[in-house]
Symmetry: C2
Subunit: 313 residues, 2 copies
Amino acid sequence: MAPARAQKRIEGVLAPVVTPFGADLSPDAARFVRHCRWLLDRGCSGLAVFGTNSEANSLSVEEKLELLEALVRAGVAAAALMPGTGHCALTDSVKMTREAVRLGCSGVLMLPPFYYKGVSDEGLFRSFAEVIERVGDERLRLYLYHIPPVSNVPIPHDVIDRLLSRYPGIVAGVKDSSGDWQNTRAMLDRFRDRAFDVFAGSEVFLLDNLRHGGKGCITATGNVNPAAIDRVFREWRGADADRLQAGITATRKILQKLPMIPALKATIAHFGNDPQWRTVRPPLTELEPAQERALVGELRAAGFGMPGLAEIT
Amino acid sequence: MAPARAQKRIEGVLAPVVTPFGADLSPDAARFVRHCRWLLDRGCSGLAVFGTNSEANSLSVEEKLELLEALVRAGVAAAALMPGTGHCALTDSVKMTREAVRLGCSGVLMLPPFYYKGVSDEGLFRSFAEVIERVGDERLRLYLYHIPPVSNVPIPHDVIDRLLSRYPGIVAGVKDSSGDWQNTRAMLDRFRDRAFDVFAGSEVFLLDNLRHGGKGCITATGNVNPAAIDRVFREWRGADADRLQAGITATRKILQKLPMIPALKATIAHFGNDPQWRTVRPPLTELEPAQERALVGELRAAGFGMPGLAEIT
C-alpha cells in the first residue's frame, strides 16, 4: 500500500453517541440523527458513533451500517464521523471499516478482537494489520481503541509501535480509555514525533492531555455536556483553563456515580423531554426511577442544562 | 409460549468442533464436514459447533450459517448439533438461534453477551429471555454457556433458577467451563429435579459429573480424543472407570500445556497429514514448530493416535 497522503485530521471533542431504541429495542435512526445534529451544533467536532457508550456491540453489523448511512443521508458530514468498526470477527471488522472509508469518514475507532483474553502481541498486531491490508485504502485513518476495563484486551505500546512502523499515516492515533493518565502520558511521550494523535477517553484528562501534546478527548459525557467540554478544548491555553476543567470534571463525577450508559440516556430523556431515550438493550438495564431523580436533582443543582435539545429537529 | 413437549435430549461427549480455514483465512466447509464426520464416527454423540474452540467469535454470523447449512446439506444429522449461537448483539443471537431451531438442531449453546462486564442479574436474565421470546419456538433447547475465564461474564445460579422457572423445558442445561468442580457440583445439586442437564466443560471432570447426575461433557479435546472420552461415558458405572478417566485426563494435560486451539489444530494437521489445518484466525497464532514437535512427541509417547483421520472423506 502506498503511504497515505497528508490530510487534516480530526481533533477536539468527540462524543461516542448513545444509540436510541424504540420500544421493540430496534435502533431509532430519526432520534439518532437528531441527537447527532445537536451534538455538532453544541461543541462536538466529531462523532465517535458505535463506541462502548453507543451499545455498539449490542448491535449487528447491519444495524450499524443502516444507522451510519442514515446519518450521511441526513446530511451529517462524513468528515465529522469516526465510527467504531472493531469486532471479534475479522470479517465483520473489515466489512464495517471498508464501508466507513467508502462513505468518507474521517477515521475509524477500532477495538481489538475482545473474546479471547491474554492474546499475544503478534496476534494483536495481525488482527489490526489484516483489517488494514484487506481494506487496502490509503484514505483509512485507524484509531486504536484501548479500553481494558471493558474489553479486557489491552493494546500494548509495542504493538502500537509496530503498527505505526508498518502503516504510517494509516494508523493515526488512539483513544485511551484505560482511566490511567500515566498510560496516556507514556504514549504521548513515546509516539510524539510519529503523527499519532492521542485522545483521552474521559474529559477528566482533557487539559492534561492537551498540555502534553494530545489532540482532544472522546468522552461519554460529550453526549450531554459538549459545549463546556469544547470550551476547555478551545481555551486550554487561557488563564481560565484550570477552572473550566474543574467544572467539566465536576459534572463528569455526578454522572459516573451511576452506570454511565443508562445515566446518559436518562439525562437526555429528562432534559430533552423524550422518555423513549431511556431504553437500553440487554444486558444493560435502565436506571431505577429513584436513581434518575437523584441524578437529575444533582445535575440541576450544579446548573447543568442541555439547551436546545428538546427543540432540535 | 406453550410448555415444550417431552423429547429425548442429547447426552454424552460433544466436541466444540475446531473450524478449518483456507490460506486466505476463509472457513473451509469441506474440511469442516470431514472432521465432523470423523468425530461422529469415533465416539462423539454430538457436535457443539461454534464454541470457543471453534474460533466462533472470530467468524461472522453469515460465515457460521454457511458452515451450519453445509453440515446439514452433507447429511450430518441436525439432531447431533448444538451450535453456539450467543453473541454480544441481541439481533445476532436471535438470528442464529432461530436458524438452528429451523434446521432441527438438538439445542443451542448460548454465551451471554460478553462485551459489558459486571452486568446485573436482571440484565443477564433479560438477555437470554429476549432471545427465547423472539425465537418463540417450543422446539428450542437452550444450554447456557458458563465460561468466565474467557467471557469474563459469569452466569449466576440465581439467573439460571429464574430462567428455568420462566422457561421450563426450553432452558435445558449448561456447559460449565469455569474449571471449578465445586461450581458444577453446586448446579447439579440445586437443579437436580428440574430437567437441567449439566455438561462438564472438560473431560477431566467427566466421571465426577456423571457420578453426580450430569449428562456428559463438551470438551475441546473431544476434537482429537473422542473414542477414549466416549468410553468413560459408556463405562462410567464399570469397575474400570477410574483407570479410564485417568487415561483421558493424562492426554488432556499434555494438550493443555499449550494454547488449546492451535494445539488442537496442530494435532489434527499432524495426525491427519493435512498442514492446512494449522491455520488460525487472528488474534490467535499458530504453534511454533518446536512447540508442535514437542506436543506430537509427547502424544506419541503416550500412545495417542487418531485412527482413520487421514482417510475420512
